[in-house]
């Protein structure tokens, strides 16, 4: 178990907090308020770090663990921000049989983060994605809008170096 507490430094603004508090005030007495509050919070901040979850806990009385349990249950919520460069590795069937799983693992090792996470300098975030319709180029990954195909594990270093 890696503690999910330490990640990219939190850069929330007072404006964002004000907006979140307004949402909480509006919704907190509704039944099942947590999901819509979390969705709004993620819209505001882009992700749900401990600082944001603690604001929600302190202002709704919902235990932090309960909030964290919901956030880690649903794939729609993220504990990590998106990096300056978002790397998406296709784990669709064609890419997977062509070895994209190894590429994904190599990226995790190289960047020192797991899937869904962001490097502490905020530079790279890493995701797995479903088929992006470029099966002819399998295995495929994208960095923001750039597409890289017919990859081998050895290409990973070069690609990262381009953006670092």
């Amino acid at each position: 178990m890696n503690s999910a507490k330490s990640t990219v430094p939190f850069k929330g603004t007072p404006e964002q907090e004000k907006e979140l508090l307004k949402v909480i005030e509006e919704k907190k007495n509704d039944k099942g308020a947590l999901m819509p509050i979390l969705q709004k919070a993620q819209e505001i901040y882009g992700y749900l770090p401990i600082e944001v979850q603690a604001i929600i806990s302190d202002n709704t009385g919902i235990p932090l663990e309960k909030i964290y349990g919901v956030v880690t249950f649903y794939a729609q919520f993220s504990l990590y921000p998106k990096g300056e460069y978002t790397i998406s590795v296709c784990l669709g069937t064609a890419c997977y049989v062509k070895g994209s799983g190894d590429i994904y693992n190599k990226l995790q090792e190289k960047l020192g983060i797991g899937g869904g996470e962001c490097t502490p300098d905020g530079k790279f975030s890493l995701d797995a994605c479903r088929c992006i319709g470029a099966c002819g180029l399998a295995p495929v990954l994208t960095v923001n809008e750039d597409v890289y195909g017919r990859l081998t594990v050895d290409d990973v270093d070069k690609i990262i170096a381009k953006y670092a």
Binding site: A4, I50, P63, E65, I67
Partner: protein, 582 residues
């Protein structure tokens, strides 16, 4: 209420509408096994060990007996081949992700999973072995550890933490195969606002949760000739310990417990009840002073360290309401290492003070600040009732054949007021006995209004020309309800007793674990409390202020309740904490 008829294994039975299959079967004399089910607290039908065949006119099918309601003319089969096969399969699946280190597991012998595996003839626990998650053991809390490798995800601990105690610092994280029970952001339990009540341990069916065991350290101290090893036993321990040795719930173990402690080699076997009497002297005095001098009211008791920590985290604005009295455990240690050490000419550094407690929060309490009257910790080791049970077992002491023995003098002398401290309402009753006597000279003993297992009790007593409004709460969700009422100005109590565990210390987090199949049908709080109230009734002295040892300790050492010396030794301070420390 409307009644319906069901047929269970051929036995016809009338039950009220809404009765579950499990309850109906129990009434008919058939046990349906459960793992996740806790009556009214965790009715989630998740573990599927309770599956039972029912026929509601469309043929037999399997349902979760713990939550499925009976319908009229329902036929129920609780142990058909299909039922047995399904339960066995479920057990095999649970065991496939369970760390099966049963040989040395702390729960071996009273593990609910182990018993089921035996009952259902699971001969090969490895049939479904495959990829497994492994988890680090969480040792961060002062009082306990969590070993998720043994966790079966029944969620009883989660339910008791959030519903009974209103805290919710543990819950299910992630999903599917990766699901585990833990705290937010994988913080260790010790980093959260956990109050150390240990109710999660008391309800854990397996060895995933347990107190930190200090029995080896205590045995080493006993073996050290340099050390004088004193032991004190909390009131509720005598109401639970006998269960460790196969005796029925509600057996009084006092005499045999004393005999066992002596045979374990403790130099003196003393009674926390003495310190409970001392607490009453100080607390009743504090109450009277606050009432007469316009001090902060309501005064709230401070005997329960789980409650104290809860107050610090969740009601930091009310810590001034807490009595400044140390808990009886700490008062005992403080008195032993000052008054008794001086009297006997022992250097307090050479005294090892061991306490036997029904409580896990006591393990946290001994490490708090402002709990070392003699410059060394008041108490060195706080063991649970369960740990004492294990020590007795390891030492090969035949508990059930021990003679009944008496506590040592002078710190083993106590009254009926001290012994009822272990049940909800007991501290209030004991304090009122002494407060009434101090204010009016009258003697009151039985106060039935504050007895019983209700989570919240209220009463008003006429004391001289004073109307004293009191409230007693046990279980922290109930405590929260009471305190919120006080904060909203809807209640004007002068005196509140709060115990963290439902029913008080008799049902503490350090008491012997009782299988949920029994707990769901027997009120262990009431059964154990009876032991204490019967003891109170049988004692010649039932008022703390009549305790001759207490009179003497004031004459020789503390002068009078609330004196400067008493404050130095017997009182403490609190800190304000947050709910979410991030």
């Amino acid at each position: 209420m409307e009644n319906i008829t069901v047929k269970i294994n051929g036995v016809e039975l009338e039950v009220p509408k809404g009765t579950t299959v499990l309850e109906a079967a129990h009434k008919a004399g058939f046990e349906i096994p459960t793992l996740c089910y806790m009556k009214e607290i965790n009715e989630i039908g998740a573990c599927r060990i309770c599956v039972t065949e029912v026929n509601e006119g469309r043929g037999f099918r399997l349902v979760a007996g713990c939550v499925y309601p009976c319908s009229n003319n329902m036929e129920i089969l609780t142990s058909s081949p299909k039922v047995i096969e399904s339960r066995k399969r479920t057990l095999e699946l649970i065991l496939s992700t369970h760390d099966r280190k049963c040989l040395s597991c702390v729960r071996s012998g009273n593990c609910e999973l182990q018993k089921l595996a035996k009952d259902y003839g699971v001969e090969d626990a490895t049939v479904y072995d495959g990829v497994n998650e492994t988890y680090e053991i969480d040792n961060s809390a002062a009082h306990m550890y969590r070993d998720n490798n043994k966790c079966i995800l029944c969620r009883r601990c989660v339910a008791v933490c959030s519903k009974t105690q209103g805290i919710g610092v543990i819950g299910a994280n992630e999903r599917g195969f990766k699901t585990y029970i833990g705290s937010a952001f994988d913080m260790g339990l010790g980093e959260t606002s956990c109050v150390s009540c240990g109710q999660c341990i008391a309800v854990c069916p397996v060895g995933a949760l347990s107190e930190k065991d200090y029995t080896k350290e205590v045995m080493a101290a006993i073996a050290d000739p340099e050390k004088t090893v004193l032991v004190q036993t909390a009131p509720a321990v005598r109401a639970g310990l006998a269960e460790c040795f196969g005796n029925p719930i509600g057996t009084n173990a006092e005499g045999k417990m004393v005999a066992a402690l002596r045979r374990l080699g403790f130099d003196k076997v003393f009674d926390t009840d003495f310190a409970a009497d001392l607490t009453i002297m100080e607390e009743a005095n504090e109450f009277i002073e606050r009432v007469q001098n316009g001090g902060k009211l309501p005064l709230i008791t401070s005997c329960s360290p789980g409650w104290v920590k809860f107050c610090e985290h969740y009601f930091p604005d009310m810590t001034e309401n807490l009595s400044s009295c140390k808990s009886p455990q700490q008062m005992f240690g403080a008195t032993a290492k000052t008054y008794y050490a001086e009297k006997m000419g022992i250097d307090p550094k050479n005294i090892v003070m061991v306490s036997i407690m029904p409580c896990t929060a006591k393990k946290f309490e001994i490490g708090r600040d402002d709990q070392s009257a003699a410059g060394v910790p008041d108490v060195d080791y706080a063991l649970t009732t369960r740990e004492l049970g294990r020590m007795i077992e390891h030492a090969g002491i035949l508990f059930n054949s021990l003679p009944e023995e008496k506590f040592d003098d002078p710190l083993g002398i106590s009254t009926g007021a001290g012994v009822i401290f272990g049940a909800t309402g007991g501290v209030m009753e004991a304090a009122l006995r002494t407060a009434v006597h101090t204010l009016t000279g009258q003697t009151v003993t039985d106060l039935p209004e504050v007895r019983g297992t209700d989570g919240i009790k209220e009463a008003t007593y006429k004391v001289g020309d004073l109307d004293v409004k009191v409230c007693v709460a046990s279980g922290l969700a109930n405590a929260r309800e009471v305190l919120e009422k006080v904060q909203r100005g809807e209640a004007d109590y002068q005196f509140i007793e709060i115990m963290a565990c439902p029913g008080g210390c008799v049902n503490g987090g350090g008491q012997p674990q009782v299988p949920m199949g029994i707990r769901n049908f027997v009120d262990i709080r009431a059964e154990r409390a009876k032991v204490l109230y019967n003891l109170d009734k049988s004692m010649p002295l039932r008022q703390s202020h009549d305790n001759p040892a207490i009179k003497k300790v004031y004459e020789e050492f503390f002068e009078k309740p609330g004196s400067h010396k008493a404050h130095e030794v017997l009182h403490t301070s609190y800190v304000k904490r947050k709910v979410n420390e991030i």
